[in-house]
């Protein structure tokens, strides 16, 4: 079984977000980049399936050479092979279309993406890939088991869980719950050494035009000073919520 895990290179969750070039570009200065957390849950699951389903795991990213560091990390975590489609990741549409073009030439049984990236939060990539390839698709995926060529999966829905079954090929939007936070694999020295021997192929991009162009970024307005209420004056708090904020 061949599994592709699509990886996005995103600012660390603790990053302060700033912009440059008259607020038209994200300021990468001093920002640490990590594997998108939703992708990492998917990658961990894929690495487990190497044992449980004799799967071969390829990781892929669309980006310039600055993304090689996280691809090496994915190899150290346990992926067998890495591919970088060499171009600047401009928007979700062009990134997804690059992945679609790759998946038209090499067939995968399961394509795993994060349900969304934590930078642009678009949530487009897995669905667009599935729609373009006419593959089965499940996002917000919290469980996945493959038995005799069929997938049993679960999706978090509003207020509950939906269980489903389908044939492969399948595209997954992964999130926490597919594996637990404590299951995430921290690369050990052996993994890091082995990662150096594993292939990292750089392939030519299709150079697809983007559909969404960010013109200008803004930060949320600064909050006014917090109104403090003494713990023994809770009536006042209720009054403020009822009559000033009008939310209860």
């Amino acid at each position: 079984m061949n599994i592709l895990v699509c990886i996005s290179n995103v600012p660390d969750t603790t990053s302060k977000i700033n912009f440059t070039d008259s607020d038209s570009k994200f300021d990468k200065n001093g920002v640490q980049f990590i594997i998108n957390p939703n992708d990492e849950f998917g990658l961990t699951k894929a690495v487990w399936m190497k044992d449980s389903n004799k799967a071969s795991v390829t990781v892929l990213t669309v980006g310039d050479s600055s993304a090689d560091t996280i691809l090496r990390k994915c190899l150290a975590i346990g992926a067998d092979k890495a591919i970088r489609i060499d171009c600047e990741a401009k928007d979700a549409y062009s990134v997804a279309k690059e992945i679609v073009a790759h998946c038209e030439s090499i067939k995968y049984d399961i394509i795993i993406c994060g349900r969304e990236s934590i930078d642009y939060n678009g949530g487009l990539v897995p669905g667009l890939i599935a729609g373009c390839l006419d593959y089965n698709f499940i996002t917000n995926c919290v469980s996945l088991e493959i038995e005799s060529g069929k997938a049993k999966c679960a999706r978090e829905i509003s207020g509950g869980t939906e269980f489903s079954e389908c044939d492969l090929p399948l595209v997954i939007g992964a999130q926490k719950g597919l594996v637990e936070e404590s299951d995430l694999i921290i690369p050990n020295m052996r993994g890091i050494m082995m990662a150096r021997q594993k292939p990292l192929d750089v392939i030519k991009a299709q150079n697809i035009n983007s559909r969404a162009i960010d013109k200008k970024f803004f930060k949320p307005e600064e909050k006014g000073e917090v109104k403090l209420v003494k713990p023994d004056e809770l009536d006042k708090l209720i009054d403020l919520l009822e009559n000033e904020a009008k939310v209860i």
């Binding site: 729609g131 269980f163 079954e165 917090v226 939310v247």
Partner: protein, 316 residues
């Protein structure tokens, strides 16, 4: 060229979000000088959409479409899009709508943009404002392409009544075959969900253990609120993942967010930034959450919460 709103229903009844999306769709169709068409699946009170200005209402009735799946619903919508000459599709930001939107964009080769917080600032070029970096920022974004799919953030657009005279139509469509089958749905029916709640009561490590959550649940019940928690609390297994709000969990866009014993790490604040009013209850006056709050109480949650519950009960 018309505007199409996908009006979500649950158990045959329209969801509140479908009035938000219809209101947004109406305002957009007026800007564009076009018609508003609403489409729903197996919905019994679909005529209510007329109150929000629908010019046409399409009801898709089929026992094969009883279970929502992104693929089967998208293929019906793509036929409606073609038949009605649609230029913009409006979706809510529910889990199902976002699931559907991305897949629909794939099969129709359209331009999808999510987390949109306002009407377009310009129609030509088409420029919308959306949140990004998990609500740590916003951007104005130009969208190209003939067909656009817009998912609007919950609670970002006010419901407006607007007389419509939409005729309810059934349409002819072809169903696609799919090996994807929903086998079972488990739902906590009695509980308000974070996505739909006007008020969210959330607690963190300050509660000291899962055995103290009855206070949080009681407070939520008095307020008709959903319960939520911080990341460490879900990581420790005190509460289910589905309650985790923050950058890697769920976003919250409620009218009121009450945070109890949550220090306010940057990742948590990102997730709840879109909530309108924030109340923080924490024993640590230095907790960073106070800087992001509208109202704050510095004190022990174990004293404050029971008293707050009593006072709220007495008020009713």
């Amino acid at each position: 060229m018309s505007v199409l709103v996908y009006s979500e229903s649950e158990n045959g009844k329209l969801k509140k979000s479908s009035f938000e999306t219809a209101s947004y769709g109406k305002a957009l169709s007026q800007k564009l000088g076009s018609k508003l068409i609403c489409v729903s699946f197996n919905c019994s009170d679909i005529e209510l959409l007329n109150k929000y200005g629908a010019d046409k209402i399409v009801n898709v009735e089929s026992s094969n479409l009883k279970d929502f799946t992104a693929k089967t619903y998208s293929h019906v919508l793509s036929q409606v899009i073609e038949k009605e000459n649609i230029s913009v599709v409006i979706l809510s930001s529910s889990a199902d709508a976002k699931y559907l939107g991305a897949y629909l964009a794939g099969i129709t080769d359209s331009s999808y943009i999510s987390n949109v917080v306002a009407l377009p600032e310009s129609l030509n070029p088409f420029i919308v404002r959306r949140s990004c970096f998990t609500n740590k920022a916003f951007s104005t974004t130009e969208i190209n392409g003939n067909l656009k799919i817009i998912s609007i953030s919950s609670n970002s657009y006010e419901i407006n009544e607007n007389n419509g005279d939409g005729v309810i139509e059934n349409i002819d469509y072809n169903e696609v075959s799919s090996t994807f089958k929903v086998s079972n749905v488990e739902k906590q029916s009695a509980k308000v969900t974070i996505a739909d709640a006007d008020i969210v009561v959330s607690a963190g490590r300050g509660l000291k253990g899962p055995e103290h959550w009855h206070m949080i649940e009681e407070l939520a019940e008095v307020l008709g609120a959903a319960t939520a928690c911080s990341k460490p609390v879900s990581d420790m297994g005190w509460r289910p993942h589905s309650e985790h709000v923050g950058q890697t969990g769920k976003p919250v866009a409620s009218n009121l967010y009450i945070a109890i014993g949550i220090s306010g790490a940057i990742q948590h604040l990102a997730g709840i930034n879109s909530s309108k009013v924030k109340v923080v209850i924490n024993s640590d006056p230095e907790a960073p959450f106070f800087k992001a709050a509208d109202y704050g109480v510095i004190g022990d949650a174990f004293d404050i919460i029971p008293e707050l519950i009593n006072k709220l009960k007495a008020r009713k």
